[in-house]
């Protein structure tokens, strides 16, 4: 099914890779973008891993290391750390060029 929220906020997501061009829609407090944009990018990127079909996200731990600003291009990479019959563990790093913006760890559970 289509990931409508990710599309709505301008995320481009495919097979464990994500991207967003920060613009006026993503404004937060002052010159930095809202932390929810970066967090949403990481979550949508994790979910897009092909190995996670049939799994649902049950937990997320986000560390926001640096700010994102207007016109920054944020890129996200998801790594499948481990997958068992019922659980999957995913690590996502979001960065802007060489600058790290967010680290996140997700736990997925096999759905019914």
């Amino acid at each position: 099914m289509h990931a409508v929220f990710a599309d709505f906020i301008g995320l481009e997501i495919q097979n464990g890779f994500g991207r967003v061009q920060i613009d006026h829609r993503h404004a937060g407090d002052g010159p930095v973008s809202h932390g929810g944009v970066t967090i949403s990018l990481a979550e949508a990127t994790a979910v897009s891993l092909p190995a996670l079909q049939g799994f649902i996200c049950v937990s997320a731990a986000n560390q926001l290391i640096g700010p994102a600003r207007r016109e920054d291009e944020l890129v996200a990479h998801a790594t499948l750390v481990r997958k068992t019959r019922t659980l999957a563990f995913v690590y996502v790093c979001v960065h802007q060029k060489q600058r790290e913006i967010l680290h996140a760890q997700f736990v997925f559970e096999k759905g019914d």
């Binding site: 099914m1 407090d29 932390g35 929810g36 944009v37 967090i39 990481a42 949508a44 996200c57 926001l64």
Partner: protein, 149 residues
């Protein structure tokens, strides 16, 4: 017996930026005093690839709600002075359940501890069943940096 009359109303907050773009966040005001409770109505464009409420959206809502609670606690309003405010350092979220378009999400937050430069805070999002009982969607723990401290 004394009867205490209260007036409750929901007021829209954050009418610009990302929060306003994703939808209308409202805050409960009781007897003229802002409460640590927000609400948000889910629309079809808030769904994730599984057809349920996007986890990214729920975390963004939680981030906004905790931010509001912190600003109110520090500054007594949602508009800090220039160069001040608060920013998320970490947000840990557990997804307890899902909601669908048309449902209203409620959020409450509570500061656990505040130091000169850091705030420890927890929050939860929930919806209400037809019988009025709460159904949990997300529980979270956050650490925030107070800017300018």
């Amino acid at each position: 017996m004394n009867v205490i009359e209260t007036s409750e109303a929901w007021h829209r907050v954050f009418d610009d930026g990302f929060t306003a773009y994703i939808g209308a966040v409202e805050r409960l005001v009781c007897d003229g005093k802002p409460q640590e409770m927000l609400r948000f109505r889910l629309e079809p464009h808030h769904m994730g690839p599984d057809g349920a409420s996007s986890r990214g959206l729920l975390m963004a809502l939680m981030d906004t709600m905790l931010w509001a609670v912190i600003l109110e606690n520090i500054y007594g309003c949602l508009t800090p002075p220039s160069g001040e405010g608060a920013t998320t350092v970490s947000l840990n979220a557990d997804f307890l359940g899902t909601a669908t378009a048309g449902e209203t999400v409620y959020g409450v937050g509570e500061i656990t501890r505040r130091t000169r430069s850091i705030v420890f805070i927890s929050g939860r999002l929930f919806t209400r069943n037809a019988d009025g009982n709460e159904r949990g969607l997300l529980s979270a723990l956050g650490v925030w940096k107070i800017l300018g401290a």
